[in-house]
Amino acid sequence: MLSCKEATHLVSEGLDRSLTLPEKIQLEMHLAMCKGCRNLKSQMSFLRQACKSYLAQEKGQTDSTRSR
């Protein structure tokens, strides 16, 4: 049975490589039972989304300063 600490590593690595099937199954089983780690997974996915929006956000800010 995966611990929360181990789950955090798999969640993070899942953003950088394909997890193996056994890893996926273990992680899914853990997530199904653990709200904290489900939140962690959403948080880490959100970080990626935020980084992707970073440059777009800069653009938005410049646009708004220009139209003032």
Binding site: S12, L55, T62
Partner: protein, 199 residues
């Protein structure tokens, strides 16, 4: 042949793009002077090209693509002289703080259990969120931040990051894990739970 017909690269627009570029480059390189140089190089390279652009955002995308390459060159240069895999005292502190989030059985302590951030996407539209986000990024130790930014901002895949920085894949995963945990803890504390945990 400096600008496309119907679209003029004016000074005001350029100043805005330049400001964004500087901020981006400074975050990545953590060296203002170096950031200035890189931005200057990228702008010169982008504009002397005389390519035609469909508009502002096309120009900006093009300039940032060049900027990213210039930043990568600098990172390569820097990495010849630094050992990215060596753990700094700040990084050791982060790792100790991470260990303290768990009980002996390696499950979350009640206080450390990650919270539900609701609809965090809504924050992306708020200017204040980005101020906190920047502060949290700056708060990451240098090497940790560098690996994270190469992965997430310069969009290298993990193998490329390992190659560029001469670190092993498992080291790379450890560093990214450290960066993500540091960032999410920082955002949780300073943005998502701000004002919630008053005691």
């Amino acid at each position: 042949m400096s600008a496309a017909e119907g679209f003029v690269v004016d000074d005001e627009m350029l100043a805005g793009v330049r400001r964004d570029m500087l901020k981006f480059a400074s975050l990545q390189l953590r060296d203002e002077t170096l950031a200035e140089d890189v931005v200057q190089d990228a702008l010169v390279a982008a504009l002397k090209n005389g390519r035609q652009f469909a508009g502002r955002s096309a120009l900006k995308t093009w300039i940032f693509a060049i900027l990213k390459n210039k930043i990568v060159d600098q990172i390569r240069e820097k990495c010849r002289t630094t050992n990215v895999s060596a753990i700094s005292p700040e990084e050791a502190n982060m790792d100790e703080a991470f260990e303290r989030l768990f009980k002996e059985n390696a499950h979350w302590t009640p206080e450390a259990r990650p919270r539900d951030w609701g609809n965090p996407e809504e924050s992306l539209r708020e200017k204040r969120f980005w101020i906190v986000f920047d502060a949290c990024l700056k708060h990451l130790p240098e090497n940790t931040a560098r690996v994270f930014m190469m992965r997430e901002f310069l969009e290298f895949d993990t193998n490329e990051v390992c190659q560029e920085l001469s670190i092993t894949a498992s080291n790379c995963h450890v560093i990214l894990h450290r960066a993500r945990n540091g960032l999410r803890r920082c955002l949780e504390k300073n943005w998502f739970m701000e004002g919630v945990q008053t005691c």
